[in-house]
């Protein structure tokens, strides 16, 4: 009976009621905020760019602190990912910031495999989250979420267009992570060149179907500022942690013989815009997009790969559990078959080796017999020879004795003759 009751109720239209007094559920957002503040926030940034393009310096400038990092060398064999986690605090808000660096990107002579480590890292983070979600005993609320929320792609300021490596890498990444392209070391491009460069980059991205992150324009509180910022992409930034005295203030800037480039001066570079967009306005939206769009896409692909579907061939909704059971049985069956095969192979191998060993043993035995035979022959011959030799010796001795006795007898005879 309860089921039909529910059906009746859900067919009714939702009614709007007006309140007679102040109830107080307008404090719900505040409760949410205070809960999340106590929980702390987590944000993961991936910086992709050539060695020496200014990734670490920009991070230091953005967060106004010195993250420890050594200069990378140009001679790495491949690209390796270097994630570092930091705990930051501003007023009473805790931020667990993970910065992932791509060491050695763009340095190799053959860069066809350069994008792979990056894609693998992002997928691994998604995979870990998926595993946690699928666990029986989950603890999602204190799981350290390592999924990459934003990828800052650093474009070298050549002034002409994107490099071929940039295009290839961004195409591989655009469906897995929010990409914001930025022009690094922008103090080498003059204003007119910068305008042309930005237009060229955006047109190349569009014509190649690369989807970069668009600042959201559906929330009316931030629509205006976001849509104006969208027009300024990609941001041309300059990073610096050194302070220079300009007028009577000390600002972060780069000092040249011909002038001073101020990092926070909007007419010099777009650093302020980037900071505004990335941190002050859209950080939460970035996290949401990562979870709702990129992660869901990954999850769907992965589960489909494993054979799960939402509906079976008869269009009846499948429950995850049934599919899981079926898969498991299949998998165990496979395992058993493999085990059988391996056992068979092992037995065969053992037989073979035994046969070989027997063969060898027989051979050895034959050889031994042969040798023994040979030795006996030799011994016999040697014996014969010895006997011969002995006979000869005996014969010789006899003759010697005979000769001696004869010679002894001779003088006696002579004496006898003399006496006579």
């Amino acid at each position: 009976m309860a089921a039909t009751d529910v059906d009746i109720f859900s067919n009714e239209e939702k009614r709007n009621l007006s309140l007679g007094g102040h109830v107080g559920f307008d404090s719900l957002p505040d409760q949410l905020v205070s809960k999340s503040v106590t929980q702390g926030f987590c944000f993961n940034i991936l910086c992709v760019g050539e060695t020496g393009i200014g990734k670490s310096t920009l991070m230091n400038t953005l967060f106004n602190t010195m993250f420890e990092n050594e200069e990378a060398s140009h001679y790495q064999n491949g690209v390796c990912m270097r994630p570092r986690t930091y705990d930051l605090q501003e007023s009473n808000v805790h931020l667990k910031l993970t910065i992932v660096d791509t060491v050695g990107f763009g340095d190799q002579i053959n860069k066809e495999e350069s994008y792979k480590p990056i894609v693998d890292y992002i997928d691994t983070q998604f995979e870990n989250y998926l595993q946690e979600e699928l666990k029986i005993k989950r603890s999602l609320f204190n799981y350290h979420d390592g999924r990459v929320h934003i990828c800052l792609y650093f474009i070298a300021p050549t002034g002409h267009s994107l490099k071929s490596l940039d295009l290839v890498t961004m195409k591989k990444l655009d469906s897995k992570v929010n990409i914001i392209p930025i022009i690094a070391k922008a103090d080498t491009i003059s204003k007119s060149e910068l305008h042309k460069f930005k237009i060229k980059i955006m047109s190349e991205l569009v014509s190649n179907g690369v989807q970069i992150y668009q600042f959201p324009t559906d929330d009316h509180a931030v629509t205006e500022i976001n849509s104006s910022m969208n027009a300024h992409l990609p941001f041309a930034v300059v990073g610096s942690v050194e302070e220079v005295k300009v007028g009577n203030k000390t600002v972060r800037a780069r000092q040249y013989p011909w002038g001073v480039v101020q990092v926070e001066n909007e007419s010099h570079c777009d650093f302020v815009k980037l900071r505004e967009m990335l941190i002050r306005v859209n950080m939460e939206d970035l996290r949401e997009q990562t979870h709702a769009r990129h992660y869901e896409l990954y999850r769907r692909c992965k589960l489909e790969e494993m054979g799960f579907t939402d509906t079976d061939p008869d269009c009846q909704p499948f429950s995850l559990q049934e599919t899981y059971e079926a898969k498991r049985k299949e998998f165990m069956g496979d395992l058993q078959k493999k085990e059988e095969e391996m056992r068979q192979m092992f037995v065969n191998k053992v037989k073979e080796t035994e046969a070989e060993l027997k063969e060898k043993e027989r051979e050895l035995h034959n050889k031994f017999e042969q040798l023994k035979h040979m030795h006996q022959e030799e011994k016999r011959k040697v014996e014969e020879k010895r006997r011969d030799l002995e006979e000869e010796m005996n014969a010789f001795n006899r003759r010697k004795v005979a000769a001696e006795t004869l010679s002894l007898a001779q003088p006696l005879k002579k004496d006898k003759d003399k006496k006579n």
Binding site: E50, T51, G52, I53, G54, E71, A72, S73, H74, Y75, D107, Q108, I109, N110, K111, E112, A156, P157, T158, G159, H160, S161, L162, K163, S164, L165, D166, L167, V168, A184, K185, D187, T188, S190, K191, E204, S207, N208, R254, Q255, Y256, P257, W258, G259, V260, V261, Q262, S267, H268
Partner: protein, 375 residues
């Protein structure tokens, strides 16, 4: 410092002079005669520029020779460059200054280092240089040598990106493939993105890496002891500044009340030709080494670059070529060279190998014999 100052002319004296002056023979006018003849003949110079795209090569060449060589140039998009191969494009211009004619050839290498897979991307460049040597070799050995065209590459400017921490593997490989075929002059491109400290650090880094990897870049010749002090000073400065950090510009801007070639930024103006800066905070520091590069390349060392190419690189190529020819006698039917074929001075490689093989076989038998004997 121009060539005019160094060789003072002497007017030949008339015959009805005093006996002492009759001692004067007059071959001190030889430098003058050389000067006159060379002006009449004209000079030629081939310069190669190499480096990734977007390093400012074309801009620098335009700034060096104060012309626009690259009108109507088509730049490729990123997707077209993924599998790009290196091309060699030659631009030839005839320029004249104070009666001296120069036929300048710029060899451009678009596509170098632009593809995703850059394995051996310097091969077309080394092949081109070898081709020019071969062409000259053949012409030189020919019967009619009146009008030989010298297309050999006299200098190669290699542009190192300033965005990294030093030389990258592709830079090292390229310079090592070329350092024995052409005079390599490394430059740090787009130097306006580096502060003076950063420039110094990068230069030290690059110099140290060049030495570590054994790359033989072009060395400025030592000064003779009788050169004047100014020249010696310049030479010393030049040696210490290597590799030169340059900035180029195609535009003319207004600065300090004058029209200068430079780059306009919201925070200041970079002047390409400035040799002394008039800023308040920084004194006596030029904006970049462009002026030094120009002086070196055009005003003082152009002829030395040509000499080194002729005397060292070309001679090495020629010697190698002849040696290869004599050891590949029977197989070589491509080169119809009029040079008489020299008798073989090196022992035949084939016979040597055969002898070695037989030797080894004999040794094997001896060893086997020993084993059976003792067994």
């Amino acid at each position: 410092m121009t060539t005019n100052i160094r060789y003072k002319s002497r007017i030949p004296i008339k015959s009805d002079e005093t006996p002492e002056e009759k001692q004067y023979v007059g071959f001190a006018t030889l430098p003058n005669q050389v000067h006159r003849k060379s002006v009449k003949k004209g000079f030629d110079f081939t310069l190669m520029v190499a480096g990734e795209s977007g390093m400012g090569k074309s801009t620098l060449v335009n700034s060096l020779f104060l012309t626009d060589l690259y009108k109507d140039r088509k730049l490729l998009n990123a997707e077209e460059r993924i599998n790009q191969t290196v091309e060699i494009i030659k631009h030839t211009v005839d320029i004249e200054e104070k009666g001296v004619k120069l036929k300048l050839t710029i060899v451009d290498t678009p596509g170098f280092g632009d593809a995703v897979n850059n394995n051996e991307c310097w091969k077309p460049i080394t092949d081109y240089i070898d081709q020019q040597f071969e062409q000259y070799f053949r012409d030189e050995s020919g019967l009619n040598r009146k009008n030989i065209q010298d297309n050999r590459v006299h200098c190669c400017l290699y542009f190192i990106p300033p965005f990294g921490h030093g030389l990258r593997p592709v830079d090292v490989e390229f310079m090592k493939a070329l350092h024995e075929k052409v005079n390599v002059v490394p430059l740090i491109a787009k130097a306006d993105c580096l502060t003076p400290n950063e420039i110094k650090k990068l230069k030290d880094r690059v110099r140290e890496e060049i030495e570590r990897f054994g790359i033989k870049v072009y060395q400025f010749p030592e000064c003779d002891s009788d050169e004047d002090e100014e020249f010696k000073q310049l030479d010393k400065e030049l040696k210490e500044c290597c590799p030169l950090a340059v900035i180029g510009s195609n535009t003319v801007v207004e600065a300090r009340g004058q029209r200068v070639r430079g780059r306009l930024y919201p925070w200041g103006i970079v002047e390409v030709f400035l040799s002394v800066c008039v800023c308040v905070s920084v004194e006596n520091q030029s904006h970049c080494d462009f002026v030094k590069l120009r002086n070196m390349l055009i005003r003082s060392h152009m002829h030395d670059l040509k000499d080194v190419t002729c005397d060292v690189h070309y001679e090495n190529y020629r010697a190698q070529c002849i040696q290869d020819m004599t050891s590949k006698l029977t197989q070589d039917n491509r080169m119809e060279s009029p040079i008489p074929i020299l008798p073989l001075s090196t022992p035949d490689v084939e016979t040597d190998r055969l002898i070695k093989m037989k030797d080894e076989e004999v040794n094997c038998y001896v060893i086997m014999g020993n084993i059976t004997y003792t067994g």
